[in-house]
């Protein structure tokens, strides 16, 4: 599925200073039963967000109207666990386009990049600065610039650069995906496959 181009994102952010947020929290397995990619945002963080009877849990950040935005800021080791792309779909479908953390699980990071969510890995110190900025002003603006690979807290001007490989950066800035790339080199793949032992 092609996705929107990602260039510069300026938005307030939703703070989730919890470590090891695993994919079962992002989207519990019982909500993986669809055969189409739609509606996953409704169950994003389901068991943290709702009581068993469906009432919103007041103390959960997504239910607090003072926080909103297209950026989710979370503690280290975000997205650990399952390879379910549904976790990234749920985050995207809810409206986030960027997740900031001081550490990401590998498969989650790949899945995010493949569907147009930018995972921005920052230092633990910068992560703290973002949490502090949001604490001071829940609407604090964060600017994520993919071209310059920088993330900036607008109010303080504090800024840090982040890493992304050139290939993925180009894809995200243009809304391209890997499937297009692979289709364009199918002849090479055919030749390679003929030599395969298996």
């Amino acid at each position: 599925m092609a996705y929107d181009k990602f260039t510069i994102l300026k938005s307030s952010a939703v703070p989730m200073p919890i470590e090891n947020v695993d994919t079962d929290q992002i989207i519990p397995a019982r909500f993986l039963k669809a055969t189409e990619r739609k509606g996953f945002g409704d169950n994003l963080f389901r068991d943290w967000r709702y009581e068993t009877d469906g009432t919103p849990k007041k103390d959960f950040v997504l239910n607090n109207p003072i926080y909103s935005g297209k950026i989710l800021v979370a503690g280290k080791n975000f997205g650990s666990g399952s390879s379910r792309e549904h976790a990234a779909w749920a985050i995207y479908d809810y409206g986030f386009r960027c997740v900031v953390s001081s550490f990401f699980a590998d498969i989650f990071k790949n899945n995010s990049l493949n569907i147009g969510i930018l995972p921005v890995q920052v230092s633990p110190e910068f992560l703290d600065k973002i949490f502090t900025a949001i604490e001071a002003d829940p609407k604090a603006e964060i600017e994520v610039n993919l071209a310059t690979q920088t993330i900036t807290i607008t109010a303080t001007g504090a800024s840090e650069s982040f890493a992304i490989n050139g290939y993925k950066k180009h894809n995200m800035m243009n809304g391209f995906d890997d499937i297009d790339y692979l289709q364009a080199m199918k002849e090479d793949i055919k030749v390679f496959a003929e030599k395969s032992l298996y």
């Binding site: 695993d22 079962d24 993986l32 039963k33 669809a34 990619r37 390879s83 793949i189 032992l197």
Partner: protein, 467 residues
Amino acid sequence: MSNKPATLFDKVWDSHVVRKIEDGPDVFFIDRHFIHEVTSPVAFLGMEGRGLKVMFPEKTFATADHNTPTINQHLPVQDPLSANQLKALETNSNKYGISHWGLGNPKNGIVHVVGPENGITLPGMTIVCGDSHTSTHGAFGAIAFGIGTSEVEMVLSSQCIMQPKPKKMRINVTGKLGKGITPKDVTLYIISKLTAAGATGYFVEYAGEVFENMSMEGRMTVCNMSIEMGARGGMIAPDETTFNYIKGREKAPQGAAWDKALAYWKTLKTDEGATFDVEHTYAAADIEPMITYGTNPGMGMGITHHIPSALAGDSKASYEKSLQYMGFHEEDAMLGKQVDYVFIGSCTNGRIEDFRAFASIVKGRKKAEHVTAWIVPGSHIVEQQIKDEGILDILTEAGFQLRQPGCSACLAMNDDKVPAGKYAVSTSNRNFEGRQGPGSRTMLASPLVAAAAAVTGVVTDPRELMA
């Protein structure tokens, strides 16, 4: 090929790179692709939306497992959403000529159990599946890892994915394991040392005496859990144990093809002088029966120990949240903790050796009255072995029932859900909040620890019940 010493991982990885992209990932060729009902439907939809077809249907194998009931499999699946996913897998497989072992097929079972037991998984292969525990297949000296649905679509339509090459880690465990110490304890021990994120960005090779002496079932248990410390996968160099396991299995090479394959497989080991980015060494003598006390697999400890105190600093709040969820406290002993549910099964511990271990403890004892036990073989082949070896008789005598194969309570997508607040000792791989049902509390452990809990009704050191 250069003569530079190479690791096992380098040998397999480098021989599967179709193209290297500068400042980007490798275009990586996939030898075997497993699919199941949960992570494949959207990939087929995406492919069809682009007007693409499956490039090599003979390299993909489908089995239904995540969403299947573990009783009354001969009846129509009750949950319409689950039934719909199972139907989609069957329809898509038939449409593109992909081998499909659906519910009721004698070959059906958990994807990471049926691949190896039918000889689909072989040394030196690259293997992917839309499931993070694909790392299991690394036990055969394959590079195997989990992928997302976009990547499932890539493999279906081009037999390749785009992957940056991970860094390399070697984990050595030296010496001999003590009585009652199983492969599950070895992996839970390693993860407790490295933490749940300690191997993120790495591909692991397990080496040393403990793994050399381990059965294929045990090696699969260890490689399976690699993802639980963040590693993309883990692998073990193939040896005589590996070759003996594979030989004669249905889809394994035979005759001249076997000889040719075997000659190649014997080259699949890390050369002397090859280097790793990181290396860790542990002593087998330090490993006890393990159990987890928190909400990620890194929160594990020797069963006779007390729950450690929170570390000072950033992680304190997360640590306390975790213990609070479990209803445990710092310094609590784990021995004697209440157990309501016991689950033996999953791609981690759903193979014949695991049920033999379980039976060795319950033999001549009775299931604790208040414990609900789910005994779920990893496949129909394992189920048959359980019957043929007399294990079923031992289980029945002790008051246990055998269920039908599937992922079951490992991720609780079907009806096998642990109720809120209840405690489960589980041989599966994740103790995340709500993993085994909303509000469920999971303690990960070996089949021996699970058996000891099932007969005593509390967390018990299995060594006390061993002859």
